[in-house]
């Protein structure tokens, strides 16, 4: 074989790393039965590619080549280390005899490996922050430093969570598998929750100076898309729809200076029509599959907003109806609060205030800043400045998020002075 220009090989290897490294890793974990061995094998396989491809040419099936090479290298590694540790000799022999060539290259198995990886990283036996960090690193391929940066936490803390999660998987023998049919829906819930948590961290960033971290949202959407290819479940479509529809408003949610723009004030021309069309189609598809779950219903609500030219022209009747259905499948005070705001839009602020008062008296939302903000907004619309001021001030005392705080201060400054 003739030599291929080194630059071209490097670019190809880079592209394959970006596109395939997670799939190769997922399969190697199955074949080697261990995260760390597999990660080392993945590293070795790409090093080998950089050495051999310029000389031998780029293989016809790079993914299969990387999997076989990685597996071979891992066994070789264990053999070399066994010089200092006898128990490793048996492990190497076992790994060598375990797998036939057909198994390595079985397409269905390889397809399922991504799912095995995702379900393992989101295993409910792992602490939630460990699930998030592990999913972002192993499934999305983010570096420890990038995850730390996104969550404004030190890389050492993230590294610790990942090390602990992997140790737990190994020590507790958490199986590397797609859950059986009767466990699937419960386990799928936990995967969807982690994906949505990652999305929300990128969209509603819970603390810090900037309102959003688009990289995390993009990763979550990518995971959501991957999952729709792997699991035919309406809620998987519903979650993807929900994320894509939220994402469609990103440009309108903040000003260039990073200030929050509430939904009714957003410039709807900035909403991304392509994403709205995709999200709405996904909602329809999910609804047509029967049983509508919470993600699908929340997405359906955003889709109704997306259809309207302005807040006034929104079909609030439809939105209140969807919240009613949502409350039947997911009893939650926050959903009740959102429903109250929709009722206020349909029947006038006084009706909303009455509902929010009841919710606040029940106690659960008393420390939730958005409940007080919503209440204050309705008082403002009624022209009751004093009550509005009290609500904004309570919300201000409860929120840590800088852009949110600036919005509240702006609202307070806009209220007519109490002395005049």
């Amino acid at each position: 074989m003739s030599d291929i220009p080194l630059e071209r090989v490097h670019k190809t290897v880079d592209d394959i790393y970006r596109g395939e490294s997670r799939r190769v890793l997922a399969t190697l974990i199955r074949l080697l039965g261990d995260f760390e061995l597999a990660e080392q094998a993945l590293h070795d396989a790409f090093i080998a590619a950089l050495q051999q491809w310029p000389r031998d040419g780029i293989p016809a099936k790079p993914r299969s080549w990387l999997i076989s090479t990685g597996r071979f290298r891992a066994i070789d590694h264990i053999r070399r280390r066994s010089r200092f540790n006898d128990s490793l000799t048996t492990l190497a022999e076992q790994l060598e005899s375990d797998v036939s060539q057909e198994e390595i290259h079985n397409d269905q198995e390889i397809q399922d490996d991504m799912l095995r990886l995702l379900f393992t990283c989101c295993h409910p036996a792992l602490p939630p922050d460990g699930q998030v960090a592990l999913t972002l690193r192993e499934v999305c391929g983010l570096t420890t430093e990038a995850i730390a940066h996104a969550f404004l936490i030190s890389p050492t803390t993230i590294a610790q969570r990942i090390v602990r999660a992997k140790a737990k998987i190994r020590d507790a023998n958490i199986p590397y598998e797609v859950p059986s049919r009767y466990q699937l829906s419960e386990r799928l819930d936990s995967v969807l929750r982690i994906i949505y948590l990652v999305f929300n961290e990128g969209y509603f960033a819970s603390s810090g100076g900037s309102l959003t971290r688009p990289d995390l949202s993009a990763e979550a959407i990518r995971l959501g898309r991957l999952l729709t290819q792997l699991v035919p479940d309406p809620e998987v479509l519903g979650l993807l729809a929900l994320m894509v529809l939220h994402e469609s408003r990103r440009a309108a949610r903040t000003t260039r200076e990073g200030e929050v723009v509430p939904l009714e004030d957003q410039n709807r021309r900035l909403w991304n029509r392509g994403q709205i069309a995709e999200g709405s189609a996904l909602v329809q598809q999910a609804l047509s599959m029967g049983r509508a779950g919470p993600y699908t219903l929340q997405a359906a609500i955003i889709a109704v907003h997306a259809d309207a030219q302005s807040a006034d022209q929104t079909d609030w009747e439809e939105i209140v109806g969807l919240y009613d259905v949502l409350l039947q499948v997911q009893q939650s005070s926050i959903v009740e609060l959102n429903r109250a705001v929709a009722v206020a839009m349909r029947d006038g602020p006084a009706a909303g205030i009455c509902l929010i008062d009841t919710l606040l008296q029940q106690g659960e939302l008393i420390d939730y800043p958005l409940a007080h903000t919503a209440q204050a907004e309705l008082y403002r619309r009624l022209g009751q400045a004093a009550a509005a001021r009290a609500g904004y001030e309570r919300a201000l005392g409860l929120t840590q998020q800088e852009p949110e705080r600036r919005l509240l201060k702006r609202r307070l400054a806009e209220l007519p002075d109490k002395k005049t």
Binding site: E36, E39, H43, R80, F84, E145, I158, A159, I162
Partner: protein, 116 residues
């Protein structure tokens, strides 16, 4: 990213514990890390009593005997490695034999900015 793995160990114990690594094992480890494409460089160091500390103050050179600071664990060697991220660096560091008797401090390398 580049990481410097600093090997710290109580010098008295480095070679005397049952777990203490032999030179052959350390050489094999360095060779393995090098073959695997992690290793950018690294060396073992002579004991701290051989150290000399250099300072320049007001353009004046001063030299003192011994290390900069007295500590319970001494710098015994270092590995400069290339790894994808901190977790990969930790994985590499965990294979350095003296990790069993001392500790490995993993430090990301700061790229200096060629600023005018």
């Amino acid at each position: 990213m580049k990481y410097l793995c600093l090997v710290y160990c109580n010098e008295e114990k480095l070679h005397s514990l049952p777990e203490s690594p032999e030179d052959a094992e350390c050489l094999a480890c360095a060779e393995m890390l090098s073959n695997d494409g992690y290793m950018l460089g690294g060396e073992a160091l002579e004991p701290v009593r051989t150290a000399t500390t250099v300072r320049v103050r007001n353009s004046k050179l001063s030299i003192t005997d011994g290390p900069f600071a007295e500590t319970k664990e001494q710098l015994a060697g270092f590995y400069l490695i290339e790894a994808r991220d901190l977790n990969e660096a930790i994985q590499v560091a965990s294979k350095i034999p003296p990790a069993r008797v001392g500790s490995i401090e993993v430090r990301p390398v700061r790229e200096l900015t060629p600023h005018a």
